[in-house]
């Protein structure tokens, strides 16, 4: 670590490339915290968006026309507006309307910027996940669903045990794409001051005037994260492969 830091210190002294995070203890600390915040943000958004998609795709097939219309409206709203506008709207408009508590002299909202980022990005990606899952559900043969209902399954039981597990496998490639997009879109949380990587990099380059260096770090950081996600997803896809099917 010593050697590593010395190298970048020397690089700065000789060439002017200032990768300050690799030799300055304070900036390194900021960087590491940003990594954790980013990873937590990504995991929370992924999980929330998958839950939204799972429930949304189920509700899309509901008997009630009202429920189906609500889902259709939700998808239209989140698909047809920019995610950055959504984040700002959630944080500044809905954030003002939600309850807060007295945190010693000032009002602190129960849902902070991190929470609003997860909610808005989760709903944003969840709208796409809903449509992706629907495409998978439509690929499940009607006869398979019929077999489940002939065995006494309710619509929900058949969705959980038969339809969704099959649909999920069909739509994994499309889901991969959307989750990769979601991962990258978490940088928009920068707009409401969530201390994730984009926000922190901005702070670091403001303090150290090393914009190009931090941009390079950003690129490598996100390339690495996406690679990990894609690797994980393809491992998952392989582990779910059904012998003799498809």
């Amino acid at each position: 670590m010593e050697l590593f830091g010395d190298y970048f210190k020397q690089l700065y002294d000789t060439s002017g490339w200032n990768f300050v995070i690799f030799y300055d203890q304070v900036e390194w600390q900021r960087f590491v915290e940003a990594i954790w915040t980013t990873i937590k943000l990504i995991i929370a958004c992924l999980i929330f968006s998958l839950i939204v998609g799972f429930v949304g795709a189920w509700a899309q097939g509901a008997q009630s026309k009202i429920v189906r219309n609500v889902i259709a409206g939700y998808i239209q709203f989140f698909r047809n507006t920019p995610p950055f506008v959504q984040i700002l709207f959630f944080y500044f408009v809905l954030g003002n309307l939600t309850p807060s508590y007295d945190a010693g002299g000032y009002q602190e909202a129960y849902i902070g910027s991190f929470g609003w980022a997860v909610i808005s990005l989760g709903f944003f990606a969840g709208a796409f996940n809903t449509e992706i899952f629907r495409s998978g559900i439509e690929a499940v043969p009607e006869s398979t669903v019929e077999a489940a209902s002939a065995l006494g399954y309710t619509r929900l039981q058949s969705y959980i045990h038969v339809v969704f597990p099959l649909a999920f496998r069909v739509c994994l490639p499309a889901l991969n794409n959307n989750l990769v997009n979601l991962l990258k879109t978490t940088t928009l949380a920068y707009g409401i001051a969530v201390p994730e990587m984009m926000y922190t990099a901005n702070q670091i380059w403001s303090d150290n005037v090393n914009v190009p260096e931090m941009m390079i770090v950003l690129f490598f950081f996100y390339v690495g994260l996406v690679a990990i996600l894609v690797y994980g997803m393809s491992r998952w896809e392989r582990s779910m492969k059904i012998p003799g099917y498809g």
Partner: protein, 260 residues
């Protein structure tokens, strides 16, 4: 809770075994403008095995799909052990506990192994104890002669093996009536026999069976009664011997002359 080997009764209806187990009366069914069933009536007593035969499009599959409410009917009545199927407030679970169904295309759950396919419904739907279900499932695997294939996925099994898993899956729910909808129509000629043998054993054990089939030899050997449908009506019916050797209706005669 009933053990898996007992059949599901206690429906609260006042059905007794001397009444028909399945009683179909004047059933009408249309898909849009197309009237598929034009007033069909038939009764099946407990332990009987009946075969419905007839040309394609004559409504035979539609008829048995109506018996377990996969299709609804517009007019008439279907009683299964006294339970009215043509009732908007029908408890479908109650009906489907009584009626098992096997399909032409097997329709197994491809993401589950053979034994899991058999065990799923009793655990999920009937909330039975997992160990008891496993025991029952293993005995069913033996019954349909698929020992050693428990952990194979449907995609790894032949058509005949898949169909026997489908039969076992249906039996796992301990139904009182079994419906077979052209269950051998998608099979190779060599594997038809293994599936028919399984059904024959079931019928001989006293399971009430309603079959839609094109296997005339099988119908003759196993059925107690044959129904011939054409254009949404039962044209002729009778015991196998009379039906096959002494058909009265010209349409039946023509059909039999083409098929036998």
């Amino acid at each position: 809770m009933a053990s898996p080997s007992q059949s599901g009764n206690g429906s609260g209806t006042n059905w007794t075994p001397d009444q028909p187990m399945v009683s179909i009366k004047d059933v009408h069914k249309s898909f849009g403008d197309l009237e598929v069933l034009k007033g069909v009536s038939l009764d099946v007593m407990k332990g009987e095995c009946i075969c419905i035969i007839g040309p394609s499009g004559s409504g035979k599959s539609t008829l048995i799909r109506c018996v377990n409410a996969l299709n609804d009917i517009q007019q008439g009545s279907i009683l299964v052990e006294g339970l009215e199927v043509n009732d908007p407030n029908l408890d479908k679970l109650e009906l489907r506990k009584k009626v098992g169904m096997v399909f032409q295309q097997y329709n197994l759950f491809p993401h589950k192994t053979a034994i899991e396919n058999i065990m799923m419904a009793p655990i999920t739907v009937l909330k039975q104890d997992k160990d008891e279900v496993a025991e029952h499932a293993n005995s069913l695997i033996k019954k349909v002669r698929l020992e050693g294939k428990e952990n194979s996925y449907p995609g790894e099994l032949s058509g005949g093996q898949q169909q026997r898993v489908a039969i076992a899956r249906s039996l796992a729910m301990s139904p009182d009536v079994m419906l077979f909808d052209e269950v051998t129509a998608a099979l190779d000629p060599e594997t038809v026999k293994e599936v028919l043998n399984t059904i024959q054993e079931l019928a001989e054990e006293g399971m009430t069976c309603i079959l839609v089939t094109h296997e005339m030899g099988f119908a003759r050997e196993v059925a107690n009664h044959i129904y011939f449908t054409d254009f949404g009506l039962i044209v002729e019916h009778g015991a196998p011997a009379t039906f096959f050797d002494d058909a009265k209706d010209p349409r039946t005669k023509e059909f039999l002359s083409q098929i036998l």
